[in-house]
Symmetry: C2
Subunit: 339 residues, 2 copies
């Protein structure tokens, strides 16, 4: 496992996930605008990772603007916060991270240089806390897995979606560390193929057995008895549903129809339980992500439009359990504990 994002000498260093699995390339940014773009174009993706990227972007901005007069500084930082929030509108962590940084800014508005130092520290702390949270999710989720299980996952909620260790893949890593034999089946996850590219890459890198299937195959594979558990990540949990990568709802329906437990690994930073489905805007991305695979292979005739919603809504009735850093909860228990 390589950290997907790091703060090094007032620069943000991240793996460029758009060129995996072919190249392992790193990007380094000193300008928060570049960090915002990297979130938008998905050099970095995954709810926890983009939360940390957002915080580090805010930190870069405080360094850039810290010598400005107070009012000007606050005005600029307001712009930065809005820019960063707009990059991926469905991701709860983005808002959570910006708010957490903003708390520091509001506390010390009179001293931009001092608050900048605090923000830089906070962003690095958030990265470390992300790893700690993921390890706890791993430990809590590993208890659900039995020796010999095959786990289906959708998209990439692994090390690459976090700073390190992953959310949905954390229970698998932890179970294997405990000595259990676990295999993974990864949905390829169109349109951007995070499962085929990233989940397969990071599990192979860590020598965890993984096979890839087309998104069309999960139902049959479950019917054939090849899956024991499903674990996915999430970008936002409202009081009635889990928001995660497009395609998650179909996997959940198939799991329900085949009596296979469907778990969601959700750091508490993704909980947004004051909201319901009606409050969430589903990000729509460009048609070309569907028509032209990874910008390299056009599969749709010229002139035919594609619909490209990035996230799916999985109602609580399809969710067996939600794994947070505190424990594993049914949706009802989750609401009782956190709402």
């Amino acid at each position: 496992m390589i950290p997907s994002i790091e703060w090094i000498n007032n620069k943000v260093k991240m793996i460029d996930q758009t060129v995996l699995p072919h190249d392992l390339k790193f990007l380094e940014f000193e300008d928060y605008r570049d960090v915002a773009t990297s979130i938008k174009v998905m050099n970095i993706r995954g709810a926890p990772a983009i939360g940390v990227a957002a915080a580090m972007g805010m930190a870069l901005a405080t360094i850039e603007y810290k010598e400005l007069p107070k009012e000007k500084f606050l005005e600029k930082m307001e712009e930065v916060a809005n820019l960063i929030r707009s990059t991926r509108p469905t991701a709860s962590n983005l808002f959570w991270a910006v708010d957490r940084i903003w708390d520091i800014i509001s506390k010390y508005p009179d001293d931009p240089p001092m608050l900048s130092a605090l923000v830089v520290e906070e962003a690095q702390l958030m990265a470390q806390q992300d790893i700690n949270v993921n390890k706890s999710i791993g430990k809590n989720g590993a208890a659900l897995l039995e020796d010999g299980d095959t786990v289906l996952t959708h998209c990439n909620a692994g090390s690459l979606a976090t700073v390190q260790y992953g959310t949905a893949l954390a229970p698998i890593r932890a179970a294997i560390e405990e000595g259990k034999e676990i295999q993974v089946i990864a949905d390829e996850t169109r349109p951007r193929l995070q499962g085929a590219r990233l989940t397969a890459y990071e599990l192979q890198y860590d020598k965890i057995p993984v096979k890839v299937i087309s998104d069309t195959s999960s139902g049959l594979i479950m019917r054939l008895g090849k899956i024991n558990k499903v674990i996915v990540g999430t970008d936002r949990v409202t009081s009635d549903a889990v928001f995660n990568k497009i395609g998650t709802y179909l996997v959940a329906l198939a799991a329900k129809d085949n009596d296979i437990p469907f778990y969601v690994a959700a750091p508490t930073s993704t909980l947004s339980l004051h909201e319901t489905v009606k409050d969430v805007t589903i990000e729509q991305r460009d048609s070309s992500e569907v028509s032209n695979i990874l910008g390299k292979l056009q599969i749709v005739p010229n002139g035919v439009e594609c619909l490209n919603y990035a996230f799916d809504i999985t109602p609580f009735r399809l969710v067996t359990g939600i794994i947070t850093e505190d424990g594993v909860y049914t949706p009802e228990e989750l609401l009782k504990k956190y709402k």
Copy 2:
């Protein structure tokens, strides 16, 4: 609409569907071995079209072998039939077509030249009958569609999957001919992308409004209220389930969960009601169809295996109606009528 397959001057002419939507290229074969290969590598695909291709392949073989002594001729034709049956083991029409040609061979085994002429005629008749059957499916299915409907389809069960006109797309064509406004949403249909490439191509060619979605999107699109009906084709209907392209089961689950009618367009040549799910072998195709999209874009790291089942099992409980050339039936009615 261009016929996907034709018999012209003792040659088989077909559209090469592997290079659509970029090129409209035709293949011509005089050798039945090439026809068998064309079915296997999916130059031609779709249950009804490969039925006709199988019959035409048999016809080419009778021409090649008709001067042999009777015993030798029958021995060769037995080999040909086995070769053709082995190309796509899940497609019911393949067996149906080979059997239909074999009936003629068994009737006139003493006169290969004469039976060859009859077989050539029969293969052409089957092509014409396919079009007639599809028009009847269109008429029966059009009655289910209302003005303004948006229909989701999976894979390509259109003109390109048949000789002409299509099965799942036939009701849409017929409804539009009746003056209704109908729009289509096409699942891209990984791994071979028949929806993105072929359904989008043929509907655009015929000026029928179509949009493409990733296979991961059908559930959300239904939740958002953008789909009124689902119509898919089938490769085989047993007494308990519909076999169709991988991914169909997920679409059916989502339709059920959203109270959207799920119809299957099934020429009676696809009915195999003496069988149950247990009798059918699901074709497994090469891992590379998933890992390397259309042989052009590798999306999975080297050394990671993919599972690639070609067909899906959709149990009758998820099927609202089955549209044959005779009418529209619930699964129970279908069993009563045809079993």
